[in-house]
């Protein structure tokens, strides 16, 4: 019961601090709101500049091939339905395409490989189409990637379906000619009334949900960033209580040191849980963010709470006075948050080194968990980052708690 009383006291104190409330809830929602506002027009529709896609079609169909899959792909990307999003510019050669991106003349470059049709016909195991995007234009890169991916998926699925059907119907005797014929039908069959050839649906970039997805990435990053701040603040309340004299006074009561410290943890954990719940709910209502399935979101929250409170306890070992906590926590949490990718959560083309560095921060792993959660993935898919996030938090606690006990409860009966 004392444990709950101790925790409840801390929760009340934290939620009565206007500054802390701004940091816990106001700041992440405000930052996400500003970004959302930047990409969302007042009418609620998306205004995204058309992305120029430089296409180098190197496809050389095998002799007698019924179709040229490369040409079909280019045609699919050039349909009027995609015109508001994508402007396809054919270029000669892969280098020219990439150079155009480098000059800023295109937002993305697609290189269709020479054996593209052969791969579609099953004559070679695979072929790789390469998409190069401009990292300075993440939104355009995202649109191009989305559209090209859909076109490639549609082509591959049609070709695969045709080959499988023929194998079942004709067995191994069904030769390449039959496959080619079926493929011709598959690739040229209209999927929508009035449209010919491969039809690529417009990506979500043309709907508010595209911006919502981007807002979700930003919100996820900001939530993790500020949850870590709250975790550190919660841990530092022990230091403040020591300076205010209330911690020594607590030890003059018949309350053990272990109960006092456990009450602190419980108070911080509940505060973090409330913060996450409020941010998730508020962002869902305000920005239409879908945070994934309940169980994965719940587990992601639990892992985040362990990581944030554990990291806070560890940081506390390196500060002597409560006056040092502001600068120290500010610097460490901002740097680790940035390295962890919390500020660049919407970028898809981060340098490999930065992506690797993010794996050395608890925030980076927490972001990986929430990214999967936002993608609607299940517990199985997020098991590894989930376990790593929680393990980092547990390791921080394992190191930090004994230090904390030595510092704040030495000589006090437990």
């Amino acid at each position: 019961m004392k444990l709950v009383t101790l925790a409840w006291k801390d929760i009340r104190r934290q939620f009565r601090s206007g500054l802390l409330l701004v940091m816990m809830v106001g700041a992440p929602l405000l930052i996400t709101g500003l970004i959302d506002l930047a990409f969302n027009s007042p009418a609620g529709t998306v205004e995204i500049a058309t992305v120029t896609l430089a296409v180098a079609d190197l496809d050389t169909p095998p002799a007698g091939a019924p179709v040229a899959a490369g040409r079909t792909l280019v045609a699919a990307l050039s349909t009027p339905a995609l015109a508001p999003l994508l402007s396809v510019v054919p270029v000669d050669g892969a280098d020219a395409a990439r150079a155009m991106v480098a000059r800023g003349g295109a937002g993305a470059a697609l290189v269709i490989p020479p054996d593209f049709t052969a791969a579609m016909l099953g004559e070679v195991p695979s072929a790789t189409a390469t998409l190069t995007t401009d990292p300075a234009r993440p939104l355009g890169a995202g649109v191009a990637q989305d559209v090209v991916q859909r076109a490639l998926d549609t082509l591959s699925q049609s070709a695969l379906a045709a080959r499988l059907t023929l194998q079942r119907v004709g067995g191994p005797a069904a030769g390449s000619l039959a496959t080619q014929a079926a493929l011709r039908v598959a690739l040229s069959a209209p999927r929508m009334a009035g449209a010919g050839g491969v039809v690529v649906d417009a990506p979500e970039g043309s709907s508010p949900s595209f911006v919502a997805r981007m807002a979700a990435q930003v919100m996820g990053g900001m939530m993790i960033f500020f949850v870590f701040f709250t975790g550190a603040y919660g841990a530092s309340s022990l230091l403040r209580e020591q300076e205010e004299g209330t911690l020594p006074r607590l030890y003059t009561t018949p309350t053990g040191a272990a109960t006092v410290l456990a009450g602190k943890f419980l108070g911080t954990a509940v505060t973090l849980a409330v913060q996450i719940a409020v941010l998730v709910s508020a962002s869902a209502l305000i920005f239409g963010i879908r945070w994934g399935h309940p169980l994965p979101a719940l587990l992601a929250s639990a892992a985040l709470i362990v990581a944030a409170s554990g990291f806070g306890v560890l940081l506390l070992a390196f500060v002597r006075t409560s006056r040092q906590t502001g600068p120290m926590f500010g610097v460490v949490l901002t740097v680790t948050g940035m390295v962890g990718g919390l500020m660049t959560s919407t970028f898809t083309n981060l340098p490999a080194g930065l992506a690797l560095a993010s794996r050395f921060t608890p925030q980076g792993w927490a972001m990986a968990v929430w990214r999967l959660c936002l993608d609607g993935r299940g517990v199985g898919a997020m098991a590894v980052p989930l376990a790593v996030t929680a393990a980092i938090g547990a390791a921080c606690l394992a190191v930090g708690v004994p230090l904390m006990r030595r510092r704040f409860a030495q000589g006090v009966p437990s």
């Binding site: 009383t5 006291k9 209330t246 006074r249 003059t252 009561t253 000589g411 006090v412």
Partner: protein, 314 residues
């Protein structure tokens, strides 16, 4: 007689500094005992060991027969720390309720006790206000009340009147006296001799971690006999120090209590009326002017002066 507090050979050292040096002390049940000593004498260290906040290097202490620092001892002990130790962002009632629950109180008994104490410390009207908005005196009163929720058998107050206005100080002294009359054993530390003199059944004088005198006020004053304290305000500190040696051979002026500092020279004199003209004469021959003279009858200040050669408030 059962002792509420028993201390035997208690010692504590911080590095090379001996904070408490083999202190022996017994405080009877229902007694109001004051520990008097200048800043740094070891009062707070001694209290901290009794409260279980510091482990002694040597010796032992019990509170109501239970080892000091044990949960059993802490359950019957109320501690009022020197500085206000309350939560400024909680209300007066919330603070009391919190501290009460730390002593195991719950539900209706806790609410009733909070009501009683809020009335006693005259904060009923402000009970819903945050403590951060209170005056120093109000905080001090609440600070004491927070140690009384569980009706402790022994109450320890560590300089509870430091830095507050005379009205609040008076209220606190009256309240401590009333608590003691109601049966609570009180251990009170102070460096104000008037408080110790007014409140206490017995007084222990602590200096450099050692109890240098112990007894009732009358018993302690008898140490200096019938000698008055003569406080001469001179021109400069340096001159006062020089004159100290010159004055102690004046007939009736004791060498044992001479003390010079801050431009003041304090002497113990058996007959101040006879001694004063001689002191003026001696000062004149040295070319020193005496700005003012204060003569005080024997009190705890003179006891401390006699025993240590220093003023109590140094």
């Amino acid at each position: 007689m059962n002792n509420a507090v028993a201390v035997a050979g208690l010692s504590k050292r911080f590095g090379d500094t001996v904070a408490v040096d083999a202190v022996d002390l017994e405080i009877a049940q229902g007694e109001l005992f004051s520990l008097l000593g200048p800043n740094g004498a070891g009062k707070t260290t001694l209290m901290s060991m009794l409260a279980g906040l510091l482990r002694p290097d040597a010796g032992r202490a019990t509170i109501a027969g239970r080892p000091a620092g044990s949960a059993a001892a802490r359950a019957v002990l109320g501690v009022v720390p020197q500085d206000v130790a309350l939560y400024p962002d909680l209300s007066a009632r919330e603070n009391l309720a919190f501290w009460g629950s730390m002593y195991g109180l719950r539900g209706a008994p806790l609410r009733r006790r909070c009501d009683e104490l809020l009335g006693v410390i005259d904060l009923e009207d402000r009970q819903r206000d945050r403590v951060g908005t209170f005056s120093g005196g109000m905080k001090r009163r609440l600070n004491i009340a927070a140690a009384l929720l569980h009706e402790p058998a022994v109450l320890m107050l560590d300089e509870p009147t430091v830095g507050i206005d005379p009205q609040s100080r008076r209220a606190i002294l009256d309240y401590v006296a009333a608590l003691n009359r109601a049966g609570t054993t009180v251990l009170y530390t102070t460096h104000y001799m008037e408080e110790a003199q007014e409140l206490s059944h017995r007084i222990g004088i602590l200096d450099h971690g050692r109890v240098i005198a112990l007894g009732t006020h009358a018993e302690l004053v008898r140490i200096v006999g019938e000698r008055d304290v003569i406080d001469l305000e001179l021109s400069t500190d340096a001159v006062a120090a020089d004159l100290g040696d010159a004055f102690v051979d004046v007939p009736g002026v004791g060498a044992d209590g001479a003390n010079a500092e801050d431009g003041h020279l304090r002497l113990l004199a058996e007959d101040s009326e006879t001694a004063l003209p001689r002191l003026f004469q001696r000062a004149a021959t040295r070319g020193v002017s005496i700005r003012s003279v204060t003569v005080t009858e024997p009190n705890l200040e003179s006891v401390f002066l006699q025993l240590t050669g220093r003023a109590l408030r140094d």
